[in-house]
Amino acid sequence: MTIAVTKSRVEDKLYQNRYLVDPGRPHIKVRPHERPSANLLALTHVCPAKCYELNDKGQVEITPDGCMECGTCRILCETSGEIAWDYPRGGFGVLFKFG
């Protein structure tokens, strides 16, 4: 017997959270690339807010609106220069009600 597999929709989870988005100032940027490295590609699965997605050219893009600022992508991809990570401006970003 195996565990009942339910499709995980992270969008439904993020919907519960409070954010103050800083329009036009994304705090994470992906450097333009031809092909993503293994770590950058892994982010399309590993990012807990599913901010990273593959476009139809096979490149990784980011939409950081649902970002919980955990820093996982920074650990995996900042050293290689594939992403640039800054804290959002003061007051912006995720606002945990419980934490």
Binding site: G71, R74, K97, G99
Partner: protein, 435 residues
């Protein structure tokens, strides 16, 4: 713009930052604390269990008004496979004491309370302010910070980096290296709300009693990881964390693991009917003793998660954070009281004091554990949990098979899975890492 100069600037209003700011302010130092969140706690995530002893050393009468959820009377340590759990439970009425030892807390609420104490002690707390860089003088000594607010630098004799696990400022300033993916775990968590009496009935609790479950097993899908369930007053914190390096290697999604944990037959009835009100993610330092970076320098100290002070084996983080924050503050107060400059040489007192505390002693005890679990995660988190479950079921199930044959089958299953040498070697390495 802030023209005045401070004795100390504390970056971050989490456990370690609040402990440091409170301790310095209550000793009369002029303290500025900077927090990037809208309110203290808005960026902070923890399970969360809070250990009374370490907070008592900072605020002895915290029980009078701190927002505490439940005091823990029961701990369940589970080993899970896909359909079962086995393990050790410890529950004792001795934990129903006048001054209980451990509490569950909700960080956003707790941190607001702690921050109020910091302000009452006399510190200036500025929220919605992200520190963008450390300011150094010509000799390289840290003399202040720049923020994203209008105006120039803010100056202080010493800067306490309590910026949390990511530690952007410290790594950018070259004070310490970037965290390695195998030295940090990513944990995700949901807050499941249920009526207070339902929480009490499901776990056999009364009043403010609480129960926690921590579980290893196939729920982490071969990765080094841990699931947890903590009872709050009218909610349950449920989450799971695994090493970032493992997540990246197997390209697994943390929310998929979390949903599988929620649907596990041992967990599902405990959270049935709950309303989920928040989903959070956070990193946890797992590198242990060998990952502790340089803790002090000219004009700066680093405390808490930013200093990787986390005991992964005992799942203790916030108490190490509070204690390191307090000790750093006490060291700074001592240096200040003899009119010493905040040089690297003088601030070495912080490390000397921390080395004598449980913080470093505990981390040193388990210094080989992170490497062991990292290199053998599949055995410790999948193979053994499956074997233990099979052994337990074999023992419990009565089906006419003679007991001697059942025992032989269990022994054979262990040897087949890990070989005789593998079993001995795993046991020896675990024992050495534990001692």
């Amino acid at each position: 713009m802030i023209e005045e100069k401070f004795d100390a600037i504390v970056i971050g209003a989490g456990m370690s930052g609040n402990a440091a700011a409170y301790t310095m302010a209550s000793h009369g130092l002029k303290v500025l604390q900077l927090e990037r969140g809208e309110y203290p706690g808005s960026k902070n995530v923890q399970g969360a269990i809070m250990y009374a002893n370490m907070l008592e050393k900072i605020i002895p009468d915290f029980r009078d008004d701190a927002p505490l959820e439940r005091h823990l009377i029961e701990q369940r340590l589970w080993v899970m496979d896909d359909t079962s759990h086995t393990g050790i439970h410890y529950r004792s009425d001795d934990f129903n004491e006048a001054k209980p030892n451990r509490y569950t807390i909700i960080r956003a609420q707790f941190d607001k309370w702690f921050s109020r104490k910091v302000r009452e002690a006399g510190a200036t707390v500025l929220c919605e302010t992200t520190v963008t860089e450390l300011v150094r003088d010509a000799k390289g000594k840290v003399v202040g910070v720049r923020t994203d607010r209008a105006g120039g630098a803010i100056f202080a004799d010493v800067v306490v980096l309590a910026e949390g696990v990511s530690g952007l400022l410290g790594t950018r300033a070259g004070l310490r290296k970037m965290l390695k993916p195998e030295a940090v775990a990513l944990a995700v968590k949901e807050m499941h709300f249920l009526p207070e009496e339902v929480v009490e009935q499901r776990f056999g609790l009364k009043g403010d009693e609480g129960c926690v479950i921590e579980a290893v097993g196939t729920t982490s899908r071969g990765m080094a990881g841990l699931g947890f369930l903590y009872t709050n007053k009218e909610s349950i914190s449920l989450g799971i964390g695994c090493l970032v390096s493992d997540f990246a290697a197997v390209m697994e999604s943390p929310y998929v693991l979390l949903d599988a944990l929620k649907n596990h037959p041992s967990i599902r009835p405990l959270i049935a009917g709950s309303e989920v009100k928040e989903y959070a993610a956070h990193l946890i330092p797992e590198g242990g003793y060998k990952a502790i970076p340089q803790l002090f320098g000219d004009g700066w100290v680093v405390v808490g998660d930013a200093a990787q002070l986390n005991n992964a084996v005992h799942r203790e983080g916030s108490n190490l954070a509070m204690t390191s924050g307090r000790i750093a503050a006490e060291a700074i107060v001592k240096v200040k009281s003899r009119n010493g400059p905040m040089t690297k040489r003088n601030l070495a007192l912080y490390k000397a004091m921390l080395d004598k505390s449980f913080v470093v002693k505990d981390l040193r005890k388990y210094k080989d554990m992170p490497a062991l679990l990292h290199t053998n995660s599949c055995n410790f988190f999948t193979t053994y949990p499956r074997l233990m479950s099979q052994a337990a079921q074999n023992f419990m199930r009565v089906d006419g098979t003679p007991k001697i044959e059942k025992e032989k089958a269990t022994t054979a299953a262990f040897i087949k899975a890990r070989s005789r040498w593998g079993l001995v070697s795993d046991a020896v390495r675990l024992a050495f890492a534990w001692r």
